[in-house]
Symmetry: C2
Subunit: 731 residues, 2 copies
Amino acid sequence: MIRSILTIVFAITVFVSVAQKSIMGFNESNAEKQHSLETSFDAKLSTDNLDSWMQRMSAHPHYVGTEYGKKNADWMAEQFKSWGFDVQIETYQVLFPYPKIRLVELTAPTSFKAKLSSVAVKGDEYTSQGKELLPSYNAFSTDGDVEAELVFVNYGVPADYEELEKLGIDVKGKIVIAKYYGSWRGIKPKLAAEKGAIGCIIYSDPKDDGYFAGDVYPKGAFKNNTGVQRGSVMDMPLYPGDVLTPGYGATADAKRLDRKDAPTITKIPVLPISYDDALPLLKAIDGTVAPRAWRGALPITYHIGPGPAKVHLKLEFDWQLKPAYNVIAKMKGSEFPDQWIVRGNHHDAWVHGASDPVSAMVVLLEEARCVGELVKAGFRPKRTLVYCSWDAEEPGLIGSTEWVEHHKEELQAKAVAYINTDGNGRGFLSAGGSHSLQNMVGEVAQEVMDPQKGVSIGERMGAQDLMNDGDGNPGLYALGSGSDYTPFLQHAGIASLNLAFDGESAGGEYHTIYDTYTHYKRFKDPDFAYGIALAQTAGRITLRLANADILPFEFQQWHITILEYLEEVIQLTEDMRVSAEKHNNLVDKNAFHLVADPKKPFVNPPKKGVVPYLDFSPVQNVMVALKETIDTFTAIDFEHLDHQEMTRLNEKLMLTEQSLMSNSGLPRRPWYKHQIYAPGFYTGYGVKTLPGVREAIEEENWDEAPEQIKLLAGTLNGFNDHIQEMIGFLK
Amino acid sequence: MIRSILTIVFAITVFVSVAQKSIMGFNESNAEKQHSLETSFDAKLSTDNLDSWMQRMSAHPHYVGTEYGKKNADWMAEQFKSWGFDVQIETYQVLFPYPKIRLVELTAPTSFKAKLSSVAVKGDEYTSQGKELLPSYNAFSTDGDVEAELVFVNYGVPADYEELEKLGIDVKGKIVIAKYYGSWRGIKPKLAAEKGAIGCIIYSDPKDDGYFAGDVYPKGAFKNNTGVQRGSVMDMPLYPGDVLTPGYGATADAKRLDRKDAPTITKIPVLPISYDDALPLLKAIDGTVAPRAWRGALPITYHIGPGPAKVHLKLEFDWQLKPAYNVIAKMKGSEFPDQWIVRGNHHDAWVHGASDPVSAMVVLLEEARCVGELVKAGFRPKRTLVYCSWDAEEPGLIGSTEWVEHHKEELQAKAVAYINTDGNGRGFLSAGGSHSLQNMVGEVAQEVMDPQKGVSIGERMGAQDLMNDGDGNPGLYALGSGSDYTPFLQHAGIASLNLAFDGESAGGEYHTIYDTYTHYKRFKDPDFAYGIALAQTAGRITLRLANADILPFEFQQWHITILEYLEEVIQLTEDMRVSAEKHNNLVDKNAFHLVADPKKPFVNPPKKGVVPYLDFSPVQNVMVALKETIDTFTAIDFEHLDHQEMTRLNEKLMLTEQSLMSNSGLPRRPWYKHQIYAPGFYTGYGVKTLPGVREAIEEENWDEAPEQIKLLAGTLNGFNDHIQEMIGFLK
C-alpha cells in the first residue's frame, strides 16, 4: 500500500477509473472504502448552494467590524451547527484603521484634486451601495500630511531604486508614485520610507491592470479608469496579524503595544488611486524620461521627475479595536480525536468580495455540509476535522494569525495539516505548499475531473507544464505569504497547502467595488463548475488526511525539491560573483562612461564588492545523509505494521514539518520560524525558499550567510534525526 | 606592411598616435604620407559648411520630380565643379506615383474620416509650407477603391498571420490595419495581399513611434499624434529601382513594361496614417482581444476583429515618368584611373529630409570639397574617386539602381568598392558591409576620435559591445537593403560599406514633415560634430582605398564570419527540427486542446512536417579548403612584390567580391545575385546571409535547400579559385 507514496503522480497518465486505484497511506480495503466515500461526497456537492451562498455572503460589504461581516459569521455558525458540527465563534479585538481623511491634490505646476471614488456601473447594482462601500485606502498606512515634489519610481522595488541611483535621482523628502504589481504592495511604502521619501501614492497602471490587459468593467472583466485596489500595507514580512499583539492572541484582555511603537504600521502615509486620478499627476511630472520597462499604458510620455509636479497628500484614520470573528467548526475524529485536519478560508472582504474570498469560502462551506451529511449517514472521520472561517484576513491575516498564536501549543500538538483556500476561478489547479504533501496532492489531482476538458485536473496541469517547456510533472509551488496559511506553516510549523483554480478568469476586480456577484457570474466561474472541482480536490485531501492508515507524507520528492532550492542558492552566489566581476571589469574599462549619452543623466557606477566563496558543505552533507535516511525510511515495509506501530508512526509523522523550524526564527524577524519557506523581506508575498541563507546572500550580508548556512544545516539535521527516530522504532 | 591586414582591429586598445601607426595595404613610407594627407584632410573639414548646406538643401521639400530637387542637384553639380571635379548629371526617366485621391473613412459602426494631415508646429517654420509638403502616402501602392471590415494584424509579418491562424481569423476580403515596424513596410501589403486582404492601412503606434518612446515634437524628438511616416512599398526584395525597367537603365528611350505588368507595384491599395487617425479605427474593432505582444500604447483595449469596424479606403495616383537626377563627380586617379572608389549618398527626401538624407549628403559634399582642396594643393589620388549624389532613393533606390544597371559592365570592370551613407546622427559608429573590408574599417575606427568622449570611435564601439555582452570587438553588420548600396553589392558584386553614427539621436521624424533643419539642430547632431566624424571615417576609407599600394581586402576575418553564418544556418535547421518535434509531441499529447480556454477562440494546430537532415558537407568542405587557401594567401610575403605584381594583384583583388555572385541569382528573384548577402524576401530590409540556403530552410522548401547548398558550394569554390589564381601568380 505504501508503494504509491513513491510515485510522482503529477504526470500525464491515462486516467484510470477510481475503483481500481490505490490511495497513498491506505491499505487496499480502506482505499476502496475511501473511494466509495469520495463518490458519495461528490454526489452531494451542489452548485446551487455555491451560487446562492455567494449571493448571500457578498450582498453587502463585509470588511472586519461591519455589521454584515458579523451577520455572515453568525449565519455560517448556524449552518455548521445545522450540519452537525461543534461550532464556536472565537473573537479577537484587533486594531483596524478606517479612513477619515483622504486627500491627494496636485498643487503645482497645475492643480487637480483626485476624486478617490469609483463609479457605479450600470447592470451591477452592488456597485451603487454608496456609503456602505469602504472607501479606497491602504490599511495600516500611518496618518500623515505631507506636500512635496513627485517622483515616479516604477513599481517601487529595490531594482527600481538601483536604476534611480544610476540616473542620479534621489527620493529624499519627495513623495513617490509607484505602480501596483511588481511586488506585494506593502513593499512600496516600506522601501520608499527607507529611501527617505515622505509619502507614497500607488496606482493601477492600465498596462498591468486596465484596458491594456482587456476590456474594462462593465464591458469586460478588467479594471476601469476609476477602479482602485484596496489592500493592506502592514509590514507582514516582519509579522502578520494584529499589529499591537505580536506573537500572542489579541484577546480582549491581551497586553497591547502602544500604536506608536507598532513596527508593522508604515512609516509614511500611503494611498492607492485609480488610473484616472493618476493621469494628471504623471502628466505633470517632467525631467528624465522613464526607462522603457517602467512605462505603462497611459497615453503619455512617462517621466521620473522629481517635479515639477508637487503633491499634497493628507491621510487620517480612525484607529479602533474591532472584533474579528473566526468561526471554528469541529467534527470530532472517531479514532484520533487529537489529530486535527484543519481546513480554512477567510470570510471578510474589502468590499463585497464575491471572488475574494467568497468564491472559495462557499466551497469550504459546501465541503463541510457534505461531510455533515455523510456523518448523518453513518460516516465518522478517524481524525478530527476543523473547518475555519477567518475574519480580518484582508488587513493582515489577522483572524487566522491571532487564532494560531492563541492556540499555538494545542495546534503544534494536534494539527496534522492545514488546507487553505482564498477565492476561486476557472482554469488550472494552482497548488502550493509543503513538499512532503506533493505526491498526495498529485494523486488527488489525477482523480478529480476537469469540468471542461474531460480529463483530470492533474492531466490538464501536466499539459500546461509541457506547453511551458516543463516535463509535464509540475510540483507544488513554495508558499510565500498572502493568505491564512502563513501563521500555520511559517509560525507554527504545520504542513500546509493552498489551493485554487485560475488561469482563465483574469480580471481587474481584485479589492475593488467591482468584485461582486454580478462580475463573478459574468467573468469568473459562472456555473461554479470549478467551485465543485475545488470542493472535490480540497474535500479529498481533507478526507484522506482524516482517514489514512498512515499519514500520506512523503520525503523523497521533498528531498528532490529542497536539493533544487539548495542548488539555486549556490548558483545565485555564482551568478552574483560572475555579475560583480563583469560589472567591475566594465568599470575598469571605463565602459559605462564611454557608452553613456552625455545628454542624458548618468552616474558612473562604483565597483561592486567581492562576492566571497561560501562553504555550503554543512548543508550539502546533511542533504546527503538525509537522502540515505529518507531512502531507508521509504524502503520500510509499512504493510506489516500493527495498529500501535501505525499510531506511533502517525504521531511522529504529523510533527515532521515542525522539525524544519528554528526557534530563533529568521534574522530580524523571529516570528517567521520555518527554515524552508518564508515571504521575502523585500518581496512581501513572493516566497524565498531557504530564506535565512538566500536573503543573506541576496543582501550581500557575508557575515550572516555562513551563520545561516550552519543554522539551516542544524535544522535539517534535526529533520534527519526526526526521520531516524521513526526508522528506529519501526525496525 | 601587410602584417596589419591580419590584425582584427575593432578592439579596445590604447590609442596610438597616428604618426606611429602602419596602415593596411601601405608600405611604411606611404603610410606616413597617407597619415599626413589625412591630417590635412581633417584640418579642412568645416562644421559651418555642414550646417549651412543642410539649411540650404532642406529648406524645401525635394522629392523626385520637384523643382527644389532639381535645384539641389544643379547646385551640387556646381559645387563639385568649383572643387575641381568632372561632373555629370545623369538623368533617368522613372515612374513615380503622386497621390491624387487619399481617403480613409470608418463607415461602421460609427463614422469617422481620417484627416491624413500633420499639424504645423510652432517654432518650426518648415512644417508650415502647406502645399509644398508631399501628402503622406506609400509610394507604389496600387490604385484602389475598397470597403470592408477591418482586421488588426499587429505588424503584419508572417508570425502574425500564424497567430491569426491559431485564432481562426482570416483576412480574406478584409482590410488589414498594421503597425509600422517589425519589418520593412513593404512586407505588410505584400503579405496581406498574399493572404487575400483587399486593402492595407499602416499606422505608427505610439508604443513604437510616439509618446511611449519619448516626448513628442515639438517638446521632444518623437512622433506627435499627427505625424505620418511616408515610404515606398515597392516590392524591393524582388528588385529595386524603376518598376518599369528591371535590370537595365531607365534611359529616356528604354523599353518599358506596361504598368499593369510591373511586378513590384503592390497588389492592394495601402496608405500610412497617424496614430490620431488610427485611434477611432482601432477603437471600433471588437472581437478577440489581441495577444499581449501585439498591443500598442493607445489608451484602448486592442482587438483583432474582423469588424464591426468597416473601412472605406480609396487611393488614386498620378502615375508619371519623372526625371531622376544623379550627380556624378569624378576625380581621375593618377596611377590607376580605371580603378574607381565610389562614394555615394542620395539627395532626394520625402519632405525636407534634414536628417534623411541631407545630414550625410552634406558630409559627402564636405569630403569632396576637402579632396578638391587637397588636389588643388598638389595631391593626386592614385585611383579615381567617384562621388555620387543619387536621386529617387526614397521611392525605391531608383537613381542608384538605374545608374548601376546602366553602367553595370563598366562598374564591374572598374569599381573597387562602394561607400554609402544615408543620414547621420549622434553616438556610435554603425558600419555594415563586405566582410573583406572589416579590418580596414576597424583600423580607421581606431584612428577617428569620438567628439564627445576623448577616445576613438572604435574604442567607443568596443565599449558598447562589451556592455552588450560582446567581446569588445564588434564586426561589420551584414547588409540587407534600405539604401543605395544594394545595386552595387547585391546586383553588381562590388564590395560595399554603409556608414553612419547613431544611438543618441532617436526621434520620430523619419519620413515625416518634421524631419527639418530645426528638428535636426535640436535633437540630432546639433553642432555637426558627428558629421565631421563621419567625414573623417568615410574620408579615410575612401582615400586609403584610393591610395593603397595593395588594396586592403582581407579574407581571414571574412572566413571567420562566413563560417559563423554557415553555423547559424545549420543550427537553424536543428532548431526547426527540435521545434517541430516538440510541437508534434504536444499535438500528440493533445496539450494544445487541453490547455486552451474554451471561452476563447482556438484552432487545434496541425502537426508540422518533418524537418529532414540536410547535407551541408559540400559547403563545409569548401570552407575547409578556403581556409587553407586564405591562410596560404595571407602568408605571402607581400613586401617584396614589384610594382607590376602589385598592379596585377590589385586588379584581381578588386574583383574578388564578384566571385561571390551567381549569375542565376536567387530563386524567384534573379536580380539579386550575391550569394552571401541579400535582403530577406519576407523582411525587406533585414538581411539574410547565405540567402539561397537560409530562405529555402526557413520556408521549408526541402527540395530547394540541397540545390542551394550545392549552388553556394559552387560559388564559394569559385571564390577559392579566384584566390588560388592570385596565389598562383604571386608565387
